[in-house]
Symmetry: C2
Subunit: 230 residues, 2 copies
Amino acid sequence: MEKIVGILGGMGPAATVDMLQKFVDHTPATRDQEHIPILVSSIPTIPDRSASILGDGPSPLPAMQEYTQRLVQGGAKCILIACNTAHYWDKALQAQCPVPIFSMLETAAEAALNLNATQIGVLASTATIEKGLYRRELEKRGLHCIEPDPHNQKAVWESICALKAGDLPKARTLMQHQKELLFQKGAEVIILGCTEIPIILAQEAAETPHRYIDATLTLVQRAIAWYKEK
Amino acid sequence: MEKIVGILGGMGPAATVDMLQKFVDHTPATRDQEHIPILVSSIPTIPDRSASILGDGPSPLPAMQEYTQRLVQGGAKCILIACNTAHYWDKALQAQCPVPIFSMLETAAEAALNLNATQIGVLASTATIEKGLYRRELEKRGLHCIEPDPHNQKAVWESICALKAGDLPKARTLMQHQKELLFQKGAEVIILGCTEIPIILAQEAAETPHRYIDATLTLVQRAIAWYKEK
């Protein structure tokens, strides 16, 4: 059986590219054939996840189910969802999916636990924060979750939307202030809990890696470990 | 009918990521849903293209056919091959593929023609050079093809292999010398004719874009234009 990783992406496309780049960067390989087989669905017409959660948009679940099914038909033996917010539907997706869906919420929370920190900041979409997606996973592990207050959360979301629209400088300026506020509120480490955020704060995460958990990277590492299991 | 672009990638994975990044960068979009729907097969176990062409390896064609078929089954309405060398088999692949396969050789040669240059340098894999893949497309359009001599072509190939193995600094040093030699031989513009080379010479191509044709980018632009056709 050929092990193939399926990536349900397109939410958004830049985050999908970032996840693929992390597979390239973190797979020990000296030639093409040693890299990990991946199928990617980057079909960005999936309805907006945040708009659906926050109340006024259609559910993305049917499209997510359809594209996941195509990945499985194409040979994918596990599925990664390249979007934190979309993990709101991961159990519903798993219920109809014959192969395991690895959860980015769980891999990031596990990474926080392994750091021996207890005060964990979370930068994520407003929908992810409002639904407590990370809070639940962190508290389940006895960790304390530090989130932006509603006013500052608006700025986090504005930053994410700026990146989706291609304006990295604006995204950076907004997000740099928000991560600073979380550290001031006592966060020892911050989960970059929206797939756009590791792109926005790439420089900070590279310079002080012990202060950030790149949720995307924790999921990629989980998939690489899965691939190497016999 | 939903228009979906299929990318036959994994040859190698870094080049596939580069092509996807170019879709993100060159699609005018202000939100996720305006980006182009893409399915990607990045299954790098496809037998080595160069080893097959140069004589001692199995053909990659059966694997290329299988993964192309999976992309078409998944909904792809056109196919891009994210590897210049693999275009050696593009006609054989097209013969069994019900949707159009756009040729990177053709889009890059067209771009050279549109620049009003006549002396076109080519940096590519040794297999691409030996089979004259670019030479044929250029001469068909009345353009003169300038290639490294066999000794220097070895250094070009060494550079490409260095990137595939993750050693960008070595790849850069080798390739910078080779592009200089082609300019000295009279090239007015150089086709970056192996999907790894735009990554290796990214800085040069960004600083003096009129001196380089990024073959990957010309193919991406072709696909974006196709997507926008009614």
